[in-house]
Every structure is written in C-alpha cells, then in structure tokens.
C-alpha cells in the first residue's frame, strides 16, 4: 500500500514480512542468503526513499512498493531508462531552437 498517512516505516520483523509479500507479488527469488540480505537492505532504503518522496511531492502522487523496489536507483535507470550506454540525452536545444517552429 502507499505510504501516505501510514506510520513512519515498518519495524524489522514487519520489514521482512513486507519484503516477503513483495517477493510473492512480483515473483522474486534470490540465489543465496547474501543476495537476499542485500536486496532486503535495498528494499528498506527504497521504502524510506518513497516516504521522503511522499513528503516532498507537491501534487497528489502516492509512492510506495512497486516492482522495482528491490533495485538500486542505478540499476533501475540502467535497466529501464533509454540512455544509450555511455551516452546521455543531455543534448541541448537551446541554440537557436526558437527559430525551428513546427518542423
């Protein structure tokens, strides 16, 4: 569920339960206990980040657990962004773009 209006963050045992539900919902499994522990830690950080985004958002958005909650931000952008490896879309349009008009 979304974090808007909930208690600040679950307790450790609760965290494991929330993570277990996440694994069931998104069919996640991890090859060894070390990877499980690492993903649980990332999951906890993402929950905390979601809470912060909730507080910062000026609109009606709700942030919480998604299918990407066990990924670091770097992994998320690398896997799902459109940046070509090594290139960024930082191309600037500022030079003379106003004259371009429609096409």
């Amino acid at each position: 569920d979304s974090l808007r209006g909930q208690d600040p963050g679950p307790q450790p045992l609760e965290l494991k339960e929330v993570f277990r539900l996440f694994q069931m919902q998104y069919n996640r499994s991890y090859p060894n206990p070390a990877e499980y522990a690492r993903r649980l830690d990332i999951f906890a950080q993402n929950l905390a980040k979601a809470q912060r985004l909730q507080e910062e958002d000026l609109g009606t958005a709700e942030f919480g657990v998604t299918q990407f909650s066990d990924l670091t931000e770097e992994e998320f952008v690398q896997l799902y962004g459109s940046q070509v490896a090594g290139e960024a879309l930082g191309v600037s349009r500022k030079v003379g773009s106003e004259e371009w008009g429609e096409s």
């Binding site: 985004l53 609109g59 958005a61 942030f63 998604t66 799902y80």
Partner: protein, 248 residues
Amino acid sequence: EPQTCDWRKVGTISPVRDQRNCNCCWAMAAAGNIEALWAIKFRHFVEVSVQQLLDCDRCGNGCRGGFVWDAFLTVLNNSGLASEKDYPFNGSGKTHRCLAKKYKKVAWIQDFIILQACEQSMARHLATEGPITVTINMTLLQQYQKGVIKATPTTCDPTQVDHSVLLVGFGKTKLVEGRQGKAASFGSHARPRRSMAYWILKNSWGPQWGEEGYFRLHRGSNTCGITKFPVTARVDKPKKQHQVSCPP
C-alpha cells in the same frame, strides 16, 4: 485548446507494452505514437513491430538504449513497419539482423517533427493532432504508485532526461487541502478548493505498474523535463498551405 483531452477514450491508444529487461522505451514510445496517429487519422488500428525498430536501428544499440528520433528515421529508412504479429517483440536486440524486407508494412510515416518546448503548444498539438512522445527524468517513477506527481527541479532535475514515454492526454483534478496542508485527491469528502492540471502519460512497464500502465505529471511547471524533447511522427500528407510571397 480544450480543458481536458484523453485519446484513450476513443480507443486509439494501443495496449500498454512491457519492455522487460530491454532498454527500448524509445522504440515503444515511437511505436505507440505511430499506432495512435494511424488510429486517429485513418481509423486503422494496428500494432507495429518494436522488434524491427530494435533490429534495424541505424545506431545498432538494440536493447541498450536509443532515441525516439532514431526510431522515426528507421521507419523512414525501412519505408514503414511490419506488424507486431509478423515481427514480434522478443526482448532482445539482435543488432544488424534487420528482417524488415521480409514482411509486409502495415504502417508508415511522412516525417517527424520536434515541437516547441512549451507545454501550451504541446497541449494544442496533442488535442488537435494526436499523442506526442516526450523524454523525461524517470527518477521519481521507481517508487510511483498513483496520483499526480508535482516535483521541483531539486526533486526531479528537468535537464537530465532519460526515459521516453507517450503523452496521450491532459486534464484537471479537483483538490482539497490535506491534513498536512498538502494537496490531496478529492476523495476526502471535504469542500474542494483548488484544482491541479496534469498530463496523462503511457509508460512501457506493463499494465500492472502505476495507474494501469499510465502515470500523471503536473502540467505547467515542466515537471521532470517534459518539454525537453517533444517529438511526434506525421502520418498524413501535409495539408496544402496558402502560398506566401516574400515582399520584393
């Protein structure tokens, strides 16, 4: 420019796709743009091949990222796209294995245009011509569940865009002041006092993500850099415009 616009309501937007572990949001946004424009302009409903865009892309990056304008160049170079059914998406990019010649083309474009970086003219084009691809900063989307995201340049840098999606509509939601003085959706059964304009965007992370595969961004504050690269294909022949003559 109407107050609200939602191309989904007339069935012109194809189903939400899932890019899985392939960096091909740029190809899915371009494909969604072409599908929507063919449905709007010609009432011809077709799903086009994203895999052809990946395989035949001139940059040869396949599933490692790309740009919407390169997808449109690929369509122009290939003289059109095969159908999704004939040339299905397999989530891997075998670069330089272009099978375009093997299949019949089901959709093509005349050219593509980069629109002015202005939310008002984008809204006008969206309402009068059809959906537009945009490229935004995706950082807030990892934890997004629903509602209208209204970010600041600090929480979502509008100059660092890295995810291409399809703009399919815009609208306004009534707001009431929430308990913490923040915006809240109308559901709080209290007297509405403000409204918030938003964009409706089609993502490519499957229908289970966000609002059934879609999400909403605040309209009017260039949230997450939505005005940086508004690009759209053109599928109908340009209308004859009145000739102008330069003064002697």
